[in-house]
């Protein structure tokens, strides 16, 4: 007689099976809770490495978007400021035209000159506008860019720098975020302060008012041309903001593809594991408690 002997102790095997099932259930529960199938690098080493890259990229996107927000505030403030400058210059022009009227008395012209003087002061204040402590038209200098200086022909001296700043708003995508104040206000033959200063002098002396008005008008055109820079920059930011939004959506889809847990599959597996667990436990319970000894009398 020969028969195949089987291991009379199946317990260790069943215990190993139980251990494995418990581990699988734990992993599945963690995946369901976190919604991610990569909860530690060993869950998917290549995926975890990819996630490190994606997380960095995503942080960059957030950072670019934040930069765009900050820069946009500065740019729109600058643009609004230049708009006010334009309005002030237009007012100066109409005052100049009014002053050129030969029927005006000296006193009337003096009054007009006085008002233009006020405009000059307003212009100076606008050119020195700061946003959150940052002078908008100081180039890269950190001080009040336009100061009164009796020695200068226009009575105003530029103390800012010629530097410009660029801010990164995308991978390898930089946008210039300022113009030096001198480029806006001190254009060759179109110096705002010089023109208004000349207008005041002309009004006070009642000579060359027409030429002075033309000069102010030129400086206004020049300033308007410079102002386009801010509009363009804001447009660029707007476009980039939109495309960053799209990129972020793509990125989150990528995150999902790389690390997203397949909820349906995980729940199904979890249910299967639980069934298997019950079955194993039942099997363990059914292991014969007795033996042939019980039946021998």
């Amino acid at each position: 007689m020969s028969s195949v002997r089987v291991n009379p102790y199946p317990m260790p095997d069943l215990l190993t099976a139980l251990d494995n099932l418990l581990q699988q259930q734990q992993t599945a529960t963690l995946e369901l809770a976190s919604g991610s199938r990569i909860n530690k690098p060993s869950d998917d080493p290549a995926g975890a490495a990819q996630m490190a890259q994606i997380n960095d990229l995503s942080s960059q996107m957030d950072s670019y978007q934040q930069s765009i927000g900050s820069v946009n505030e500065v740019l729109s403030t600058a643009d609004a400021t230049l708009n006010s400058v334009g309005t002030a210059l237009q007012r100066a022009i109409s005052l100049g035209v009014e002053g050129a009227n030969g029927t005006l008395s000296d006193a009337d012209r003096a009054a007009i000159a006085n008002e233009v003087n006020g405009i000059q002061a307003q212009l100076l204040s606008l050119a020195n506008t700061a946003y959150r402590g940052q002078y908008l038209f100081a180039g890269t200098a950190d001080q009040q860019p336009f100061v009164l200086d009796p020695t200068a022909s226009s009575g105003v001296r530029y103390d800012g720098s010629q530097g410009v700043n660029q801010v990164t708003i995308g991978s390898g995508y930089q946008v210039q975020v300022n113009l030096p104040g001198s480029q806006i206000f001190n254009g060759a033959g179109a110096d705002v302060f010089q023109a208004v200063h000349d207008l005041i002098t002309a009004l006070n002396t009642n000579s060359g008012i027409g030429e002075a008005v033309t000069e102010v008008s030129n400086s206004y055109s020049y300033l308007s041309a410079q102002r386009v820079f801010y509009g363009n920059a804001m447009n660029q930011l707007q476009t980039q903001q939109t495309s960053l939004g799209t990129e972020k959506v793509n990125l989150s889809q990528q995150v999902n593809a790389v690390s997203g847990a397949d909820m349906a599959a995980v729940s199904t597996n979890l249910a299967n594991d639980q069934t298997a667990m019950t079955a194993t436990l039942t099997a363990m319970g059914r292991i014969p408690q007795g033996s042939l000894f019980d039946y021998l009398k």
Binding site: R5, N7, P8, S42, Q53, S63, Q134, G139, T168, L296
Partner: protein
Amino acid sequence: MSSLFGTMSIATGALAAEQGALEATTNNVANVNTPGYSRLEPILVSNDPVVVGPLTYGTGVSLEKLESVRDPILQRRIEEETQDQGQLNAFVSAMQQAQVPFTASSGDIGTAMSQFFSSLDQLSTDPTNLALRQGVLTAAGNLTSVFNNTANNLSQQRSDLDLSVAQDVTQVNVLSAQIAKLNTEISQLQGVNQDASALMDQRDVLIGQLSNLIQVSSIQSDNGLTLTTANGTPLVVGGQSFALSTQANSDGLHDIYSQGTDITSQLSSGELAGLIQVRDQKIPGILSNLDTLAAGLANALNTANQSGFDLNGKAGGNLFVAPPANGHGAASSMALQVSDPSLIAASSDGTPASNGNLANLSAVHDQAVAGNQTPTDYYSNLVFEVGNDVSNGSAELSASQVILNQLQDQRGAISGVSLDEEAAHMVQYQRAFDAAAQVVSAINNLLYTVINMGVLTG
């Protein structure tokens, strides 16, 4: 020719043999839950016949021996697999701890690097803003502490592993001594032809425990059992055991010596091998990668900061304390050089509100600063390698577990005690005993008859 007394002695011999066989069954039943016990099988042999003229008479049965049923080759396979499993188990559980700092979270190196570069971006929108400058310093300080913590954490794990190595060596020595003692007892018993199977079972259990700890090869020779470890150095030769010793190496870690030879790096299986692999190769490897990354990053950012001007218009200096020239310990010692936010060299021309040099600092994000890779690429490779070690180790461990289970099943099938079988044997031996007793009784009757033949029944 046969005699009634001869027949009687056959029957009594049978009684003794069946009783002995029952003893084997009893012992098997008693040891049904003893780990490593190999069941006993009674070897019954028929006695040499007596030839008288043309007739051959059987002379009954005797119990030759109680043989313990074991498969030495299977036992060796189990030991080998146990060694593999010991190594994998130690390796995987150590690496599982080592991968923790590399798990994507708010506190990992990758996030800290991203946050630092983000803070530079923010500063570029308003370079004179002290709050934003402080933001950059805070992010940089956070980066250094994450590097410090990760490196220190790994070093701590290394020391913990070293402690386990020392403990395992002590354990190995205890087991070797016990095995040597059993060897002596076994050879004494065998010397007088006695059954040593119980001791051999005990020894197998101890060898199993030893195998879990250290790579062991066993050789059975006339002089008893010899156990050698890596490099062929002996742990046990017959009744003598050779203790392993430990000696602190230049890193302050325990090297393992067997009779004066350093076998630390020669162990390829057993728990010790797994511990040593992580302690001496994996963690130092990760640490060295972290050092490369920390040093590369600090140097590149320092260089970038030096190329610009700070808020006071002075040429920029080091942002981080210059890492050691050989990079060794760069991660654990990474520290900020500056604490004054105005010293961040944002300006490219000395004008305070210039942000031109921030672009140079930000550009480090895409520079090959470590191992010809960008910081993020280098870091994500590191994540991959650490994760891969755990993942591969775990897969091997599961496979090894399956093999070991199968081997143990096989061992159980050969050597394990089945109560059903023992019950059947018991009945069998009991009936044989009953039958032999009947024979004795019958012969007794015959003898009675013969004895009374000469008595007149008048």
